[in-house]
Every structure is written in C-alpha cells, then in structure tokens.
Amino acid sequence: MKKLLILGAGTAGTMMANKMRKVLPRSDWDITIVDQYKTHYYQPGFLFIPFGIYNERDVIKPKSDFFPVGVNVIFSEIEKVEAEQNRVMLADGVSLKYDYLIIATGTRTAPEETDGLKGNLWYKDIFDFYTIEGAVALAKHFKTWKGGKLVVNITELPYKCPVAPLEFVFFADAFFTERGLRDKVDITYVTPLPGAFTKPRATKMLGELLEQKNINIVPDYNIMEVDNENKKIVDFGGKEIPFDCLVTIPTNLGADFVEASGLGDDMNFVKTDKFTLQQVDHENIFVIGDAANIPTSKAGSVAHFAAEILEENLLCAIEGRELTAKFDGHANCYIETGYGKGTLIDFNYDTEPLPGSFPFPGLGPFGLLKVTRTNHYGKLLFRWIYWHILLKGKDMPIESEMQMAGKKL
C-alpha cells in the first residue's frame, strides 16, 4: 500500500484530500490528513464580523464535514518532517511514513513578533481581525466606540488575503457613516507598500477610492513597536502615528514545524518551485496554499487554482513522468468597497490586475477594477460556493490558468 500524507486540513489540504481520493485507487493508496484543529473557519468571513454583518456561527463548521470517505484523519500537532526518512513526527510521538507528502499548513498571525503589540492594550484598544477571537472582540468594541483615530496597520509582507485590510477601511467608512459617527472617526491606512496596492493600475484605482472615502494613507511605513502608554505606533525611522483604536495585520509566519524540518525560509514558508509546486530540495514533497513561499498572494483563490496544477503534477510524479502542469500564480480577489458594492481583481505572476469583465469576456457578470453591486453579490455568494463546491474539490466554471480574454491592456 502506498501512502499519501497531507499536512494541514484548511482550504488547500481539504481540497487536495477530496481531489486525490477521487483519482488514486483505494486498493493501492492510503490517504491520511493531519491537522491540530477540529474546526474549519471560513476565513474570508472574518472581515465581516467586526461590522456585525456576519457572526461567529456564519464562519464555523466542523472540518470532518468536508473529508471524503476513505481518508484517514488524525487530529494532532505536527512536530517535524524528516524528509530524508520520508517520515513525519507528530507531537504525541507517533510517526507517519509517506511516499508522497503535501504540505498545506498555511500561515498564522504572529503579533508577538512586534514589540508592544500584545501589551496592555491588546483586545482593549488594539485588535486583529484575521483570527476569530480578534474579529469577535473588535465587533464588541465597535458597538460602543465613540470614535477617534482608527489606524489600520499592515506590519510586514507577505500577509494573507492582501486586499482584506483595504476592504476593512472601506467597510469602516460605511459602517461609521451609517451610524452618524463618520465625522468623529479619522481613518488612516498605514502600509509598508509604496501605495494602496502593489501593481500600478490596481494601486491607482484603489488609491483613488481611499481618497474619495476620505481615508488617509501612510505608505512606506515599517512598524518597529507599539507605545502602549502614549497610544502610538513607531516605525524604524522614528515616525510616530497616534491611535485611539489600532487594527493590526500582524506579521504572518508559516508553521513552526517547517523551521524544525529545515524546509523553509526565514518566515517559515516552505521553499517551493513556483511553477511545479514541488519543494525545492525533495521530489516527493509538494506544497500548496499559504504555506508555500511562491511569489503570489496568500489567498484561497490561489490555493484553488493551484490545486488543479498540483493534482496533475502529483500524478505525473507518481507515474514517473515529467511534471507537465505549470502554475501561473493566478489570483482572483473580490474586494468589498462598502455600501453593498465591490470590485474585483484577477492577476498572476506576470500580469497585473487589468480592467475588463470576468469570467466571460464582454459579458461579465463581474467587472474587473470597477465598483459594482454584482461584484458584492459575487462575494456573498462565494461563501456558499466555498462550503459546497470548493472545499469538496468539485469543478468550478473558472479556468485555473489566468485568461486574458475580456481584459483591456
């Protein structure tokens, strides 16, 4: 019996378990998936919680609902991958052998990496919204907040769902406007990037949106520490920004076992070939989702597009053929802009987000780099698609390779 071992049962790992169980015969292949947690969070929903649009129940389901029949499930912490021995050590002393390994252990927020972030004000005046705890605590805080300086700060790159902090400030603008508090809330977006986003056209479009909504932006800002006593953040150059409420996007790190296994970079993201999705030093290890150090967004859509590539390449490897599928870094992100509207960006390693229509050229129904109601409904509809189609590894009517049709250069 051959063994396929999947580490991580989040979006990427669960999709791969479903896909591979369909294509690998049960008579020949054992598939095992390992995760330390039993709850599956719909992470794109966290953004909606601070503004009372979703609550905790809307984003939680048991992981076990999404595993296919015929996959062994182990809930345990992962200690180390011993790649030379084709073996994974779990925290409780159990070791698992594998023929092929998929690492899909994602990324976590690490507020402890920034001095003073987890100080006296943590979850009093300082919040994150990338964890369920942070999102819920912030929702509670916003219910009675009387206004002041709201500072949203991205600590460093890379971080998951790169558009979420922008959506957060757009939502905040609408939320406080609807409550009649907007003139008392000063919103500032503080980012290490030179502008609102990375690529020229999306940066321009999103930068203009920030301006229209009267949201300040402080670019090229790399936070060094939080001064809890005087309620301000300080960067390495000494620039201070005062806050009444700080919403932080903390440093993102890969899983600790990646470091212990010697497979990652200095942020514990697994060193991965950006085209084949193979770990750079080990032919029988593949990597998918946020856990990989490939130069594209850390986002569910990327994991979804990469899953088809990984399925094909894993089968190639198993059958001793050359790896034929090549990942293009495709990402597709709906961006909520508030007031029941949204925009959409679609890009890959080489092509920046361009205006146009998606997924059908000329027809849409979604507009790229345009603010429309349909885009917002696309995002809301996506939660259903996520639970019922995407996690189960079923096909969607969107090509995994980015398409140029429908885009304007």
Partner: protein, 103 residues
C-alpha cells in the same frame, strides 16, 4: 532606460535610476549614487552593500526583516544608514534591481 557616466564608467540606468547591470558596479559608483541620495558612505554602509549584493547574486529575495537578521545591522540601524526608504535606497546604491514586493 538611459545611459549615464558615473565615476568615470558609462552605465545603463532604468527609469527609476537603478543600474541595469550589477556587474558594472564599483565602490566609486556606489559612492556617487549615494551622494545623489544625500548619503555619505561609511564602512558600515559598505558591509550592508556587500550583504545585499551577495544576496542578490545568490538569487535570494531582500526584505527589511532579512537584512535586520543578517548580523550586519539590525532593522533600526539599517534605517539609520539609509534614512526614509532604506530598502529602495540601499539597493539603488548597491547597483542591484529594486526589490519587487508581491502580496
């Protein structure tokens, strides 16, 4: 792209003033670009420049975190040496491409 004579050497620069060919770089060129940026290079600057050039030559990415953990300088010292936008300035002076941020 444009051509410019820096410290007696004719070099190709891109639109943002970054050198196109890192192998053309000399300490003298670095010193002159630094002067244009209002920075006078010290021994410490050259240690950082050497680290940056070695990283780039090895095909590895540059981040403020990475330079802060290099053992050459910490992040705060790096800001002190190249005030404002340290990574952008330091790479320009080192004659290597501007780091691209992808998110």
């Amino acid at each position: 792209m444009s051509t410019k004579t820096i410290a007696g050497v004719e070099v190709n620069l891109n639109d943002e003033g970054y050198m196109e060919d890192a192998s053309q770089w000399t300490k003298e060129i670095g010193t002159e670009i630094a002067n244009e940026e209002g920075i006078e290079l010290t021994e410490k600057h050259f240690e950082v420049i050497e680290f940056i050039r070695n990283k780039v030559a090895a095909g590895e990415g540059l981040t403020i975190r990475g330079i802060g953990k290099s053992g050459v300088v910490n992040a705060k010292e790096f800001y002190g040496l190249f005030p404002g936008a340290p990574l952008k300035k330091a790479t320009k002076i080192s004659g290597v491409p501007k780091p691209t941020s992808c998110i």
